[in-house]
Symmetry: C2
Subunit: 158 residues, 2 copies
């Protein structure tokens, strides 16, 4: 891939709207990598669900919003997004639900899975023809893969 | 509710096709209750996903079927089902995905959640207007609630 093209896109006026999906109430074990991923994704535009990476957001969920309001806000964000990036290394009802909804809304869905020896990704994600699953080793590996994906997506969207 | 009506329905020729959703690769902590729920649901007809309650099905998933085949079989079962009963006490990408797909296929979705003091159900399920969430204390409580639900559903479907 051309890093010059990517650098130019990062600094152009084109702002991607990215829906980042990560576990909240399912468990916050992956919070460190969510934070890093969101910070990197923000170099390409707006991450609608930036709060997913906030350290003070616990597995008790958001304060000040009831479940119906959270649901409707997230569905509206999903509909308005240009793409969905989902971290799928942790089991999560919400992330699974969001991935299926994103497919229904005809969004591009990119799932990132950090392989563990004692764990297998759900067949409903790994076997789904409507999403792309990328295994990654660490944050550097994620950066390498997502940069390539976003370069291609921006080219298609422009 | 009339238990005579329910007893009559259980022994009539009307066979419900029920899609039971429970965590597999997300974790098998709830296997005992899955087994009991499925055994009870079978008194009303066919549980398409009976394997979810099998003790020898571990979190490594099914043997002998690749992920694409599992996905397509489960989507076909979802489409052909009369209703979906989902146990949502454990985080699970697959269960979250199946619930959203079931809504897309215009199925009735009944989610059963065993409340724990240190856990909250995902807002994408708890706040979704297209599913019904029932909290339950134990298996006896599940039986009481599901019998009432199925009696009403059979009456509507007949």
């Amino acid at each position: 891939m051309s890093w010059v093209v990517l650098f130019t896109l990062q600094r152009s006026n084109f702002m991607l709207k990215i829906y980042f999906a990560g576990s909240i109430r399912g468990g916050r074990e992956q919070i460190d990598i969510y934070q890093k991923m969101i910070t990197h994704l923000k170099t390409f535009g707006q991450v609608l669900t930036e709060h997913v990476g906030e350290a003070n957001l616990t597995d008790k969920g958001e304060k000040g919003l009831d479940d119906s309001s959270i649901y409707q806000r997230d569905i509206d964000w999903l509909k308005s997004s240009d793409m969905v990036v989902a971290e799928v290394s942790s089991p999560s009802l919400g992330v699974g639900f969001e991935i299926a909804k994103a497919i229904e809304f005809h969004k591009q869905v990119f799932c990132f899975y950090r392989k563990k020896p004692d764990q297998k990704l759900s067949a409903m994600i790994a076997g789904c023809p409507d999403v792309e699953v990328f295994e990654y080793d660490d944050f550097e590996d994620f950066i390498y893969q997502i940069n390539s994906i976003i370069k291609d997506s921006i080219t298609n969207l422009k």
